[in-house]
Symmetry: C2
Subunit: 195 residues, 2 copies
DNA sequence: ACTAATTTGGTACGCTCGTGCCAGTTTCGT
DNA sequence: ACGAAACTGGCACGAGCGTACCAAATTAGT
């Protein structure tokens, strides 16, 4: 169900944002009708009025969150200083796009959702089209950034680098005190170093 | 609670195996007291008698499954034919260890658990020690296999290759009809090709 | 202004879940 | 053989869940 009135649209949006927040904080399992309603300060029934099912709500939340990430990426691309983006700075830029901007100690938590959603897609096929779209746009963005930074790469090479980062992250998650960003950083630096 | 009588030990084992089966078929969310009991052909209360909590049961199932994988890896190492393990055959061997032996079309399903558990560890810290142990042993096994095959590698290099495979897999999961093994195979072949 | 469509929000149903309980049975140690 | 320990299994509680329902309130279209 889509909203037909301005106020309804605002309410719907509030629900999506609440759901996206829950997604980030607690993962897919945390997105429940009641939790979303409470977080948005709306009654329970509003969640079933604006969304046909919980899956719909989850998908909307994921799309909202993904679009936010893409917007962040585009902003970084726009403000990219072609002169001062070599070496470490460039690696950090790539990591910012792939893992989100660093938040200090709570990195592991912030990064988790990016991989939960990939894996969740395995058991929730209805998320696949959405994830493919978001993922494709992110890849494109990265290719643009590499090109702008004077290191043009092909689609295949970008996919390799992304795989390397993603693999480093999921393997870092099992450490006693995980620091996925550092692990990804190490591998990315090595892979991008001139041979 | 641990079993003290032979029959009790058998029952407990049956529960662990049932839980492991559910884990493989349906992921972490499928491991429920009632489902485990039914699959094992035992009453519900047996699950709470032998395991203090559901987390205990999940951990036991995961350990069981992981030990099975390691046993499979050791068997492959033992039967390794030093002569005929170059090129493609070797890559398939590595993939078998990392993703499990290929099962045809249902690869995506079979592979999924390997990554669900990595990501699940992010939100279930109690699994971390176990996952670290299993992961460490698998890494060691791979190093041995590389050495035996005449391509000695360091720990760092093995971790790079594993990250590459893992990243390729999680990114392949969002395809319309995922073939994570093929994606991993492509990247692994390229990374291991002589420069 | 007035009818119709939309939105609201309180409530309830039916289900699954983890877990506690406990009288009965089996098995073990001696 | 016999007391104790281990085990069995049926049951029920309380909580949380997705979702349906519907009278009341609001808003839109004319």
């Amino acid at each position: 169900m889509t909203a037909a009135t301005p106020k309804g649209e605002r309410r719907r949006q509030a629900l999506v944002e609440a759901a996206a927040g829950l997604l980030v904080d607690g993962g897919f399992d945390a997105v429940r009708h009641r939790a979303v309603a409470e977080r948005a300060g709306l009654p329970l029934a509003s969640t079933t009025y604006y969304f046909d099912s919980l899956d719909d709500l989850v998908a909307a939340a994921l799309e909202h969150h993904g679009q936010g990430e893409l917007a962040y990426g585009k902003a970084r691309l726009a403000e990219l200083d072609v002169e001062a983006c070599g070496g470490d700075a460039f690696i950090d830029l790539v990591l910012d796009l792939l893992l989100g901007p660093t938040g200090g100690d709570r990195d592991a938590e912030a990064v988790l959702l990016r991989y939960e959603r990939l894996v969740a897609t395995g058991r929730r096929p209805y998320l696949r089209p959405l994830m493919r779209k978001l993922s494709g746009e992110l890849h494109g963005l990265l290719i643009e950034i590499f090109a702008r930074a004077g290191q043009p790469v092909g689609r295949e090479r970008v996919e390799e680098l992304i795989a390397l980062v993603d693999g480093a992250v999921v393997n870092a998650l099992i450490e006693i005190s995980p620091d996925p960003r550092a692990a990804a950083r190490r591998m990315l630096a090595k892979a991008m170093a001139p041979r």
